[in-house]
Every structure is written in structure tokens, then in C-alpha cells.
Symmetry: C2
Subunit: 385 residues, 2 copies
């Protein structure tokens, strides 16, 4: 994929292709096995069995029990269900702790609760984009209902110290939700190791399709449904189940469990090579995100003296993003980078490169060369080209 | 499909198979065209163009404008978005009118609002399952915010007089929502003819997959989003768009527009033949639903002296349902039939047979024979078989 028709895809944090094995797993459920899982007859039974198998596959990847998995229409819905669902059972706890670098799918539900009688503490992050346990400690209180902090930041790949934050929260009797949309499939994710009571998964970030996700709900945690209707998904998510995509999410989770270690080693090496090449070609290139506590596939850099959008426009060989795909279109600086203390100008110089399963060494070399060429063309000005 | 492994499928109101042309339309978006529609690069642009094309196809089927279509994860979510979304903008109107035979995806959001400061009038239906305009008139008031009545009842197929109810509602300044999940694709549905301000579509009832739907929102109608996050779907439905299924829903709507008239004629003839055969073989068989103002594919009958579930169990050649798939599992009488004035015993005798695009004359004959055999075996008792 190296011509301008199909540029090198370095935008896997925006979305991943569906893995061919996932497509194959899904196809029988788009074709012959079309039953409604709620139907009592054989068509329904077959569909029901398929989603229960997928539930086991998803649970297995994150060290959960199948009955702790609720399928949703994606990561955004999973976050909404977790945060707004838990807020229905407050037991007089009306305080929520989150961070200043959450995805809108977490930040907006928190802001909604803030407008509806909850107090929300928005924890700052350090210059690497991490919430520090020490900074968080004074803000976790006896009336804290929920701490919701993402596991891996979507723009920078920075990993949050969820275990340490969970310990703080649990010591005060609060529950812990983590948006693991960017993490699952890229790093090992175990709900018990993290101390997560609720954890969101987005299918399309791990080679399943867009439009399916899951929420892990620890046994004993009480949630109210967000969408109201019939009794699907233990009453937590009504609506006829998306059988093909649920099957796909299960298959993707099984693949992730099989390949995650190999792939993260491989992608980290490629990513580090990309950084080395760019950094050599572009003196003053700055890394955005934690140098080591970071997703293995993610490289967010700021170009000294050139906007990320301009570099991208000048490098049509590359498909990447200046930030979150969900914020595309505007030319405003990334709020995530601002929260990390970057000046607006420097934030506008950022570019996110996110690698994936199909990224090759050759693509990395071509991408580095194309980006360096584009950068130098811009800073030298058009005359010198 | 006539052996017990794959019984004759007469449960199309529970769910339909995905049409092969719909699968074909979707496959490129499950395979090569995997971009995130929010991404600025060519992968994103291609995905974006695909969902905008689908938006035109959906709009065209119901006589709407593309910008009036919001894609959702299904009919349940569409109903929730309509009812709860409209309730955020009340302008001091805090009264809702609905019926006693709505799907839980409408009834539960209404009940939720009833618990949160709204008054809800649950309109009765007549013995054919229709809300009568005359019955409704006194209940539509100056403070009525919304009338939400389904277009076609899912268990009986009875069609509601939405146009007449819309006229009542609009005369009082109220808005009109109709759950058209069962109607779209089976009968002509035009938002202006119906006078609908909001209308829900469920993909899997019209040969698109489970897990996609749409809400028609008339221009000028203000809604709040149900799920909160980034700005997708005009801010009304955040979350990365389910591109393949949206493409599939578009294709299914185009197919429905092309074939609806022919298919409804064909299925009505088959359905009426099924009724005739059953009625001849089983004296005292009773029709549940309106004799003429009814979906062309739906036949809900009560067997005199035998439970619907028993007849089904004794006719493994048939895949059908005793009522809504969403209520399966229990042995309680259908609330819809009770609302129509049936005695609990008679309601338990009901069986819903719903035909589809692939139903053949031969299947109808075999189904009628199998159901009649099963019925007579039950009422005669096991000794006489």
C-alpha cells in the first residue's frame, strides 16, 4: 500500500482493518445462521450459542468470567453505560474522579453528571501525559463513587498507572472504570491485575468491525441500563444482539490473545525504528507521550516549526492523523497535548503515527523518508525545493 | 428448508436473513474499505462517502431528506433516542401519549419518563389491536409533548392509524414519533403521509443485519443525544460509525423500495392462503389482529384448546414464535393480546407466523399441514394418535 491511491496506513489508533480471520468467522452469521438469539427454535439456538461462545472468548482475553461481559455497539456506548449506569446507584456517593485527557466518550458522560448533581474532579497529567498517583491521592474521597481513567491514551499511547489508581479508589470504597479501547489487543489487559470493576472494549481498535464493543462488569457491581427495552444482555443492553459482530469480536479477542505478545514486540521495534529515522532526519523532533510507558504501536511527535496538518498534506504517501479521528476537521490544538503542558503552537505541530499488524519494515522506511521530505520542504519554503 | 435441522422459517417478524445483495454490498467495507469516516485521509473519505450514500438510500425509501437520517445501533436505540431525546426539550410540555401495545423499546423509555416527572397516557386498543382516533382525542392535550405509537404491531401486524393520530397531535402542538421497525419494507412508509416527526427503522427487520437502525428526525425537531461522546451523526449519535452495516442498511432500503410492492402482494397471497388452510383444518381458529389493516406477511392465530407453545413443540418442521422474540422464554400470556381483550387462556393459545421474501407456496402448504397435524394430535390427546 504505497501509492497515493492507497497510502501507507499509519492510523491504527483511529481504526483497524477487520482481520481476515475475523471476517471469515463472521460470514456464516451474515449468511446462513441469521436467527434471533431470543427465538426458541433452532435458528435462535444457533445464534444464541454463537454469542455465548464469543462471550467466553472476550472474557478469556481479559481474565474475566463470561457472565461479566456485556456486549454493546462500541467503546463509546460501553463508557456511557459504565459511567452513567453506575451513577444510578450512588449510595450517597456523588463524586467522580477522571482525568483531563479522557476520550469524549468518557469526558462527556462525566460532564453530564457534573451538570446533574455530581462533583467531578478532573485530574491533571504530567508532561508525559500520565496521571500521577501522588497527584490523585488527595482527590479520592470517602464520597467518591467512581474513578474513571483510561488505560492507554488514544493520541499519545501513554499508559496510565491504573493499578495504583485502583488501589487508591478501592481504599476509599470507590469503584474503578477504565476505558481500555486503545489498550486491549496491544498490551496484556487483566481485570484483576488492573483492579478494574468496569472496563470498556472497542471492537474496531482490535481488528473487529466498527459497531461492536463490550463492557466488563465485575460480579456484584450494580449498573442501570442506558438504553431501555427488552431484557437482552442481562437487562443491561436491550436490542436484538448483533450476532455477526459479536462473533467477530470474540474471534478478534482470541486472535489478540494468540498474537499480542509477538505483535507488540514486532510493532514496538518498528515504531522505535520509525522514531529513530525521523529523529535523525529532523533535529528537534519532539516525542509526545511517555518514553517507555506507552502503547507499543504509537508514536506522537511534534515537528519543530511545521504544523502536523501541513506535514501530512505534503506527504500524501502516508495516511495518519494529527490527533484523534474523533476530533478531525478542526484546526484547533489537541486538548490532550495542552493538558500535558504543550504550548498551542507546539500542539499544532503534532502528528500521530500508529502502527498495526500489517505494517512492514519497508513501510516504516518509506514513511520516515516521506515525512522527512515533507517537513524539510515546508520549513525551507517552496522556493528551495 | 423443510427438515427438522432447518425448519420452515416463519418468524420474519423476529428477524430476517440478510439479503445476499446486502451482504455483497457490505463485504468491501468489511474487507478493503476499512477507514474511519472521521479520518481526513483517503481511507476515511471513502468510508465517509459510503455512509452518506447509504443515508440517501434510507431517506429515499421513506420520503425524507438525507440530513434527517441518524444512524443508530438498531430500532431499540432509535426509539430511546427519539423518546428520551425529545424529553430534554420540553418547553413545559410534560405529557406523553403512547399505547398499551408498544414494544418494550418504546414502553420502557415512556415508563422511565413517567418515573421522572412526565405524565404518560397509555391508550387502549380495540379487539383488533388498533388505537382508535376517537379514543385518543380526549387524551391529546395542550401540554402533550409527544405521541409515540407504533406503525405496525410486531405480534399481530395490526396497522395503527398514524396519520389520524398525527393530525390530533399536531393540532395540539405535540410531536409524533412512530416505531416503524416492523413496517418499513413491508408496506409503503412516507414520513409526510404519516405526519411523523420522528420514525424508527430497524435494519434486521428488513433484510439488513442486526445491530443497525436509523432514526428519522424531521428538520427543525430538537433532540438531545442519548449516548454522549464525540460529534458523530450531527452530535446525535457519537461513536465511530458502523460503516459496513450502514452500507447494508442503505442497500436493504434500496431493495425494499424496489421490491416492496411485488413482495407485499406475493406474501399477502401466501399469508391469506396459509390462513385459509389453517382455518379449514382447525375449526374455531381465531385471528388475532385486524382482518385487513395488517402487515401483509403476518398471521397471528389462537388455536382453540391448545397452547401455541404446545403446537409449536409438536410441529418441529416450523420455526415460528408464540409472540415477540424479545419476550421468549416465559410462559406468560402476551400483554399485547391481553390489551386487545383476549382472556389469558386464549392469549396463551396464540402463535405468530410471519412470512418473508424467501417463503414459498410449498412451505406454506407444508407449514399448514404440520400445524394442523400438531394441533389435532394435541387436542385428541396422545392415545388417539
Amino acid at each position: 500500500m504505497t501509492n497515493s491511491q492507497t497510502p501507507i496506513y499509519l492510523d491504527h489508533n483511529a481504526t483497524t482493518p477487520v482481520h481476515p480471520e475475523v471476517v471469515e468467522a463472521m460470514l456464516p452469521y451474515l449468511r446462513e445462521h441469521f436467527g434471533n438469539p431470543s427465538s426458541g427454535h433452532v435458528y435462535g439456538q444457533r445464534a444464541h450459542a454463537a454469542i455465548e461462545h464469543a462471550r467466553e472468548q472476550v472474557a478469556s482475553l481479559i481474565g474475566a468470567q463470561p457472565d461479566e461481559i456485556v456486549f454493546t455497539s462500541g467503546g463509546t456506548e460501553a463508557n456511557n453505560l459504565a459511567i452513567r449506569g453506575i451513577a444510578e446507584f450512588t449510595e450517597n456517593r456523588r463524586h467522580i474522579v477522571t482525568s483531563t485527557v479522557e476520550h469524549p466518550a468518557t469526558a462527556r458522560p462525566c460532564a453530564y453528571l457534573e451538570r446533574h448533581g455530581f462533583e467531578v474532579t478532573w485530574l491533571p497529567v504530567d508532561s508525559d501525559g500520565r496521571v500521577r498517583q501522588g497527584e490523585a491521592r488527595p482527590f479520592v474521597r470517602g464520597d467518591t463513587l467512581l474513578a474513571t481513567i483510561m488505560l492507554a491514551q488514544n493520541e499519545t499511547g501513554t499508559l496510565m498507572p491504573i493499578r495504583e489508581l485502583s488501589d487508591l479508589a478501592h481504599a476509599k470504597g470507590a469503584l474503578v472504570h477504565t476505558d481500555a479501547a486503545q489498550a486491549v489487543g496491544k498490551i496484556p489487559v487483566e481485570v484483576d491485575d488492573l483492579g478494574a470493576d468496569l472496563l470498556s472494549i472497542a471492537g474496531h481498535k482490535l481488528y473487529a468491525p466498527k459497531g461492536v464493543g463490550a463492557l466488563y462488569v465485575r460480579r456484584g457491581v450494580r449498573l442501570a441500563p442506558l438504553v431501555l427495552g427488552a431484557g437482552h444482555e442481562g437487562g443491561l443492553r436491550p436490542g436484538t444482539e448483533n450476532v455477526p459482530y459479536i462473533v467477530g469480536l470474540g474471534a478478534a479477542c482470541e486472535l489478540a490473545g494468540r498474537d499480542q505478545e509477538t505483535e507488540s514486540t514486532r510493532q514496538r521495534a518498528l515504531r522505535d525504528d520509525l522514531w529513530k529515522r525521523l529523529h535523525t532526519a529532523i533535529p528537534g523532533l519532539r516525542l509526545n507521550g511517555h518514553p517507555t510507558e506507552r502503547l507499543p504501536n504509537t508514536l506522537n511527535v511534534s515537528f519543530p516549526g511545521a504544523k502536523g496538518s501541513a506535514v501530512l498534506a505534503a506527504a500524501p504517501e502516508i495516511a495518519a492523523s494529527t490527533g484523534s479521528a474523533c476530533h478531525e476537521g478542526g484546526e484547533s490544538p489537541s486538548g490532550v497535548l495542552l493538558a500535558m503542558g504543550r504550548e498551542p503552537e507546539e500542539a499544532l505541530e503534532a502528528l500521530r503515527l500508529s502502527l498495526g499488524r500489517h505494517t512492514t519494515q519497508r513501510e516504516v522506511e518509506e514513511a520516515a523518508a516521506a515525512l522527512a521530505r515533507a517537513f524539510h520542504r515546508i520549513v525551507r519554503g517552496p522556493r528551495q525545493v
